[in-house]
Subunit: 225 residues, 4 copies
């Protein structure tokens, strides 16, 4: 029983792998860290392998080979495998939180804000289901686990804050905002990542409106009958 399914790593797209989401023109690629530099290629390779096969598939050898360098080269750019993933996590999760926060700002009222935030979370998770799973749930290096916890807390804090103010405004019924926030993250993750993980034969995008409605109900938006 092989612990990690490494199959399909080497024969997969050797060239690039999925490019980073949101790697737009305004990205922070500095001169010291050019977009095509080895460090970036290592991060991109780790991202691609994790997105395809999860953390378990992302051995140092696989990452380096995908990046087109020798294994030892990774250690010129990161102190350890864990450090690489901390950087990767921070970057990817940071982008998620920013996107969610932006979604909140685009909407006026309280309850709809929460729906918009979770809708954003869901849409983005759907784009990289295996990665979303790795970010949300897969057990990792302790070093990375700490980073994950920080970002889950950020997710929850964002939602929790929005929920609390909506409750204070009387727009939502009394509830424990932390619990609701955690549950909603879990609900969206399960609803999307779960069914998608094995066979992506379902068009999960069609589920988004349904999911919005569910979130609406769960937070207690007044629903007529």
């Amino acid at each position: 029983m092989s612990r990690a399914p490494v199959a399909g790593v080497d024969d997969a797209r050797k060239a690039a792998g999925p490019s980073f989401p949101d790697e737009d023109a305004t990205s922070g690629a500095s001169v010291a860290d050019p977009a095509g530099g080895t460090r970036e290629r290592l991060l991109a390779a780790a991202f691609a392998i994790t997105a395809e096969g999860g953390y378990g598939a992302a051995s140092v050898g696989a990452i380096a080979s995908r990046a087109g360098v020798a294994a030892g080269t990774l250690y010129r750019h990161f102190a350890s495998k864990g450090e690489l993933f901390v950087v990767l996590f921070r970057r990817v999760c940071g982008r998620e939180v920013v996107a969610m926060r932006r979604a909140a700002e685009d909407v006026a009222s309280g309850p709809e804000r929460i729906v918009a935030v979770l809708d954003t979370f869901a849409r983005r998770a759907l784009q990289h289901p295996r990665l979303a799973w790795a970010l949300l749930a897969e057990p990792l290096d302790p070093l990375v686990e700490a980073e994950r916890l920080a970002y889950r807390r950020a997710y929850r804090a964002l939602l929790s804050e929005l929920l609390r103010s909506a409750v204070d405004d009387g727009a939502l019924p009394e509830q424990d905002p932390d619990l609701t926030a955690a549950a909603l993250v879990g609900a969206v993750g399960e609803a999307l990542v779960g069914p998608l993980a094995p066979g992506a034969d379902v068009d999960a995008t069609a589920l988004l409106p349904e999911l919005r409605a569910l979130v609406s109900r769960a937070i207690g938006t007044a629903v007529p009958r």
Copy 2:
């Protein structure tokens, strides 16, 4: 980079470990597979270790040693480590589904049935949080992953069926029962045993009423205002 904390496996209760939940007299132990037989002891050992330290702690050596046999003996009873966990998963998850189904039968009306089912799910998960996490989320052998998928489908099917009939009765608003079912399992799992769940210092049982209210709202039970 250590994959998983294996602490406390060998020095823990050598004799028994936590007995299987619901290991009642009407168990399916056949004559060929007596309750005290080696095969059962292996399953019980794997269960106990997983419940304590997760899948990562459940090495063949640890399981065999806890069962009081040699490592090689495991292969007399299971084709591989993965096979053992398939059997274990099937058994444990089957019990969960049965318990949830029973909970449904004890309640008359539609919406409350769903709440009762998820309440049962939540209560049982709280009794073995590490195990619940392993069953729900921890990445496993591909062999076992398939089994897990089957049981996620079973959870979802049970809830989905109840949701559908309540919707048909007009007791709940129109919705995609599969989506709601999956989301609710995710919500409860995340809120109780996920990384966002409160630590061991908080009494998670206190969250159950809040969680029931959340479920009520999410399925669309008429909410006052």
Copy 3:
């Protein structure tokens, strides 16, 4: 620049290597640890390689290969490479101390006792010069270093005690017994097995009487003129 000279390990005597010194009939080989058992073969291989090329040549791979087993097998018998060397050190050094103590018992008066003890030390070191060097000086795993320190202390304590009582009896002039003891171990080691020692071409045994005379003078045995 290769850190460790591994050359000549594999092509050397594959069969046995130098048998343990003093592996006599009354050895403590237990039933659980038969003389031909893998554990003993690993210890013998480690001994042989260290005696030939020092600790630096004694990689896990080289030891296992010399013992005729796979590298992983070493870890069935020792928790780590360091543990193996702790066992080896304890065994080898223990024998040295015993031999020196016996030599002391065979002689009556104080000053001659010290000469006899160091003579024994010297004779035995000459039998395995490279090993003696490894035991006395070569930097090691911290685990093993502690063990070495313990035995150097034992050497010194034995000598120091003999010196002190001889000084108290008035047989030797006033001196710091600890300093003299350490210096004598260093003197004998250097003269016989250190980098200043004559090469293999010279018969070092011929030096023993000279060395005895030197020790005699150093401790202050009355020497006429």
Copy 4:
């Protein structure tokens, strides 16, 4: 199993490190090799790191970084890491021999000369204990090992010559000067910088008079009684 503690190499004095002992105006720095040249800075860096953390801490990267150049630059000035240490050894040991020879010249009679020489050896070793250990005992590259041997021979030759003439003058009893010389170097080294030497907490300088007395006795200077 970590071979050597490398702690505190990078954060230590980046600028200079301990300047070479005896780096006096009459140094042999040629025009082709100016004192502030890269080659000299590399030697100084290697010296400083070895004096602080031993040979094990002196990686090519650490040396180059301390010298303020890139790792590759080392290979412009030395064929290999080993070559650098050969040069370093030759220089440092040469200085030691010179210092010992000078000490001999300052004293008239035979026996006292030997005591003075070893006293010098001991004093200088105490000033850089870690370096002394590296020079005297630590296992090195075979290339460097040969150099060390040469200088240990030089130590011995110097002492041996003095011993021989004192014996010929009748100032000391008959003995094998080479053996005595080697043994004395070993005795002083062990007593001061070996594993049996007192830790840094003890003032080893206090041992010098005792050590002089021991050396006196060992060479056979007329002893009272």
